[in-house]
Amino acid sequence: MNIRQTENTSPRANRRMFVLRFFFGICILVFGISTPGCFIIRPIAGANIDHHQLQKAREARVLEVRHDGAERLSHRLDNGDPIENADLSFYFSESLLNKAAAQLDSVTGWIDSLTSYSIRSIRVKLYNGSAIATVSMAAYNHDYDVDVDLIMDCLLLFSIEGGKFYARLEPFNVVPTVKASGMISSVEGIIEDIVTMRLSTLSDNLPPIQFPVDFNNQFPVQANYVEVRTGMNMNITTPAQVLQYNLSLKEVLIFKEKLFIALNVKKAGVKK
């Protein structure tokens, strides 16, 4: 219904419209009183809040996270052994992390059987002491036709599993922008569900970012064959061997624009 139509109606119709709207307002009020939750606020917290306020809140939270990380890193650098005191050390650039993270751009997954999500982009920034990924994504509840656009600030948590090196996304700021169709009362629970409950377990459903390295490694020693025809005729052969070794993660440190990981050789032997 548009305003121009309203303005062109008669005073009588106008009065009827006013009563109707007043009644509607009262209904909303009664519903608001009777509902213990915050059916409007929750979506508003993500969607209709002052964007400037939201931006400032995000900025403050990100700075807090960065400060905590920088403090830990500074303490580590002041204490303990030199950072490269390890059998193997790797430096990964922020650019490489972004190239790996970009493999997840535009992919679609599922939070549950009714809620899918689509990752628009993941951008990683490495600061002294913290790695923060900004994930832009959309969650969509198919049953209720509810879209939740999200911006998530995630800490990157690094781990080695089965020799593979992963960065897992752990959201600490989730900023939903709700888009929904249908009546407020019918979608309120769904939005709340998506925004508060399901997104809290979103990190379990998000795929990790895999690095192009494998630390559970093998060291091939090539077979060799030498023919000796001087003095004593003989053939010297060295069979191929495979040395297997495992590495243990010593530490992961995050510096501005680079990620450092240190590993030590844990076990080495010939593969039988």
Partner: protein, 308 residues
Amino acid sequence: MITRSHCEPLFGEAIFSMSGRIKLPRKIASFATTLFMFGFIFIGCGSSVNVPSVEESEKSIARTIPKLDSLDRLIVVQTQSLPKGFDIISHTRMSAINTLLNGMTNAGTNDIHFDFLATRPLWKEEKSTFGINYTNYVDVDTGRLDVDLKKFQFTGMLNNIVLADVEIEGMGAIRVSGKYTGITASAAPQVHFYLNEQLQFSISTADSDYIRLTPLPRTVMLKTKVTINLLGWSIPYYREIPLQSDDLIKPVLIPSALRSEIVFPLPAAQYGEERLEYVKRSLDFTRSTVGANNNVLEYKSNISFIKP
């Protein structure tokens, strides 16, 4: 609908439409009702709104930035010597490679096999007794022995040259036959091999997965000693057999831990038990360089993901 674009018109329209034709008291009444309604809901739900005010956030930002800047400055000073400029830089300590090589040298005593072929003769001498000329000779018929790689250790890395000590030693029996004073006989003498040399390796990137250490060509001596006793004829056979180092030792491939192909986890496109599905991604390595200095092997490269 409760999107920003829907939510605002829903309530905004009620207010705006009142501003058109209706009288002021009604407008005020309606506006007050709406205001009250919003106020009630906002107050009632205030506790669940976790977003701090702009002022609170700005205070927090103003408090944090100087502390963060100060920490950043300290960290930058402490880390300015760290390498940069490539997607990946790896440092492998020589001691780590030796730990791996020790795993091989300590594994057993049958690292290298020597297969003896017929050598005719291994040794011979022309003799004459009472004007009768004859030849004493010994042939190697066959034999096989296993030799232990006692040591293979890198001892230094400097100016992109890697030094290594190699020591092999083994002892075993071979079958020999021959004639002594015209009498044919055979024996199984002991043979002893020993090699202890220092080798040099040059380094290069084999491919993405390995760093190649290639032995520089050099003649090394395999010391061979056989004590043959044939019908009382004692023949001390000792020779240094020249071998080319690049024949004896094949290039050593040091794993870089990098993979030119990885299986990348992606979310499963269809809902099911499996939340992830895996796709292969090939990687392209460019500007790869490798260096060896101060007993550290350094590998640098830039990496691109090749999308299928």
